[in-house]
């Protein structure tokens, strides 16, 4: 689903969206008089995020026939090539999964085998039974959730302000937010940790989630600005004319339209925190350790317990992989948004 479509979904409640709206938009763009309904999809179009996946409603052939391979034989070869590269690409993770089902001794057998000689859940039992592991999962979830909420609460109003009142300070601010992306975490991790300690937040999920928000906030602002930009100003003005206050218009009209965008931003913020390691390493000791740190610690603390490590890594990764597969369209939209807008 492209952003255009995501926005269309949001707008359905307010204006009757036309069937095949995105396709129609081409014509509407030239029409001198545009209806409000005609503008919504056009606004989606201005993002220029192509219908990446499931371009169902877009008519075929507008953009793509040019690059699609014609000949059947060429296509067959390309399919084989694609399948081969996907197998190669997917293999490392499959191997991790297979290994996690081996017996602890077989995990470090020489020479290694791809499939387990004997399927067992022993590694999982070992890994999850270890003290601190279940707690680390709770910490990871807590940290990621707090960081996501914080990121949204801060980025949505900021992005709205930047796109609606296009002031100079807004532009400077968005550039500054992008520059913070370049700050190496290792450079600010220690000062940040000592700051947290001085306000009594050392080794808490709150401190860590604040640190994670410094990573996800610039990205969130960037993403949300793109989403807000896609909402036509007229829509909001129409609502104000109809008797909504500025805030009411924002709450009842604009926010529902960008709800898809908010979801995308939330996913990114969550993933950024869930997978983060360096801040977690620097800022947590025992109480608030997140799972990535625990996985890394397996290496030193308990000798080389490969089996448990693979099992824990699998348990940690699978939920987010599944999440991605379910929500992939939104994620794709979010990832390409900033770049393609160029």
């Amino acid at each position: 689903m492209s952003i255009a479509e995501a926005n269309n979904h949001g707008s359905m409640g307010i204006v009757p969206a036309e069937p095949g709206a995105a396709g129609v938009a081409h014509r509407n763009a030239q029409a001198p008089e545009r209806t409000l309904a005609g503008r919504i999809p056009r606004a989606g179009q201005t993002i220029k995020t192509p219908a990446l996946a499931g371009a169902g409603r877009r008519r075929r052939g507008v953009n793509r026939e040019g690059l699609e391979a014609g000949k059947r034989s060429t296509r067959t070869i390309l399919w084989i090539l694609l399948a081969a590269s996907l197998v190669l690409y997917g293999f490392p993770f499959l191997y991790l999964l297979f290994t996690s089902f081996k017996t602890p001794i077989d995990t470090i057998a020489v020479p290694p085998t791809i499939l387990p000689r004997e399927w067992t859940l022993e590694n999982y039992a070992n890994a999850l039974g270890r003290s601190g592991v279940p707690a680390s999962f709770i910490n990871s979830i807590q940290t990621a959730v707090i960081s996501t909420v914080l990121s949204l609460v801060l980025s949505v109003p900021a992005a709205y302000g930047i796109t609606r009142y296009k002031t100079r300070s807004g532009r400077i601010f968005i550039m500054a937010a992008l520059v913070t992306r370049m700050v190496p975490p290792v450079a600010i991790g220690i000062p940040l940790a000592s700051m947290m300690a001085s306000v009594g937040l050392a080794d808490t999920p709150i401190a860590l989630s604040i640190a994670h928000t410094t990573i996800s906030l610039p990205l969130s602002i960037w993403l949300m600005s793109s989403f807000f930009e896609a909402v036509p100003k007229d829509l909001e003005e129409a609502a104000t004319v109809d008797g909504c206050s500025r805030l009411g218009a924002l709450w009842r009209v604009v926010i529902p339209v960008v709800s898809g965008g908010i979801a995308v931003t939330a996913i990114f913020a969550f993933l950024a925190s869930w997978n983060e390691f360096l801040f977690a390493l620097l800022m947590t000791a025992v109480r608030s350790q997140t799972t990535p740190v625990v996985i890394a610690n397996f290496q030193t603390q308990f000798g080389l317990d490969w089996g448990s490590m693979t099992a824990l890594a699998a348990v940690y990764s699978i939920p987010v992989i599944l999440l991605t597969l379910f929500l992939q369209r939104k994620i794709v939209a979010g990832m390409t948004l900033g770049a393609v807008k160029g």
Binding site: L52, G90, P184, I221
Partner: protein, 283 residues
């Protein structure tokens, strides 16, 4: 906007300020230990330290390797998906999965493939008859190649991102343009280099800059695979700063290194953006 600005000011700008001010002090690693103002001494020490200089070169080499390979592979996959059209959509989804894996996990699973003795890669190459001995190539133990080996998980993780962004860019190229070029007798290579790549330029620029910044900060994957070893052969800037700070307990020196590193990154990113991206120019 104000709350967000305030947040960034407190939690990014202030620590940065601390970092820069710390870099002028000699600081005892003990909490509440003495601080002594030493001026630019830490900077002098950083630039004269062979560790620092070689970590800088390694970071550069690592970033170039990661971004180049990732770009080549990502472009290849993006073209493949584009030429196959909509029917490859399901596979495209599958191709995304590494993006969701924690770098620490990616580092771990590649370590598992490349480690000596029970690593699968050497064994498979041996069974395929390419290597005489499964341990012939010490992926992670040979200082000459380890920097490339530790780059593999990073490449593996984010080729999907490259592919995704480039694929999106490719969809925006008007089909008529390609058709017209074909009718004029353009063959695949000139189509690629004369039409597709120039049109993709802004997209490519963003993708390269974003990924370049990330690769230059790489930490997780390297830490778990080699911890910078053997003989510091895979110690990039992030790892060196981390080690200086934590292991050697020299926050002053580490802050100076961090400051130099940050400035270098800003400078490179600025040059990259202005030369490749050229915003405002209608490409």
């Amino acid at each position: 906007m104000t709350p967000a600005a305030l947040f960034l000011a407190v939690f990014v700008a202030y620590p940065l300020f601390r970092l820069i001010s710390d870099s002028f002090f000699k600081i005892s690693p003990l909490v509440g230990g003495p601080r002594e103002f030493v001026g630019l001494d830490n900077y002098v020490r950083a630039f004269t330290s062979p560790d620092f200089v070689s970590a800088g070169w390694r970071t550069l080499a690592y970033t170039l390797v990661v971004v180049t390979l990732e770009f080549a592979l990502g472009l290849g996959m993006a073209l493949l998906f584009t030429t196959l059209g909509r029917k490859s959509q399901v596979l495209r989804t599958l191709f995304l999965y590494p993006l969701m894996i924690a770098p620490i996990v990616a580092g771990l699973l590649w370590k598992f493939l490349m480690i000596d003795n029970f690593g699968l890669l050497g064994t498979l190459l041996h069974q395929a008859g390419i290597l005489q001995d499964p341990n012939q190539i010490g992926w992670l133990s040979n200082p000459d190649i380890v920097l490339f080996s530790v780059a593999v998980p990073d490449i593996w993780l984010t080729t999907s991102f490259m592919c995704l962004v480039l694929f999106a860019g490719l969809q925006n190229i008007p089909g008529d343009l390609i058709e017209a070029a074909r009718l004029d007798g353009a063959r695949a290579p000139s189509l690629l280099f004369r039409i597709i790549l120039p049109l993709l330029r802004p997209v490519i620029a963003v993708a390269l800059v974003v990924r370049g910044i990330d690769a230059a900060r790489a930490f997780d994957t390297i830490l778990i695979q080699t911890n910078g070893g053997p003989q510091s052969a895979s110690e990039t800037m992030s790892l060196l700063i981390y080690r200086t700070m934590i292991r050697f307990g020299d926050p002053g020196l580490a802050s100076a290194m961090g400051t130099i590193y940050l400035l270098a990154m800003l400078a490179i990113a600025f040059v990259a953006v202005t030369t490749i991206w050229r915003p405002g120019k209608d490409t």
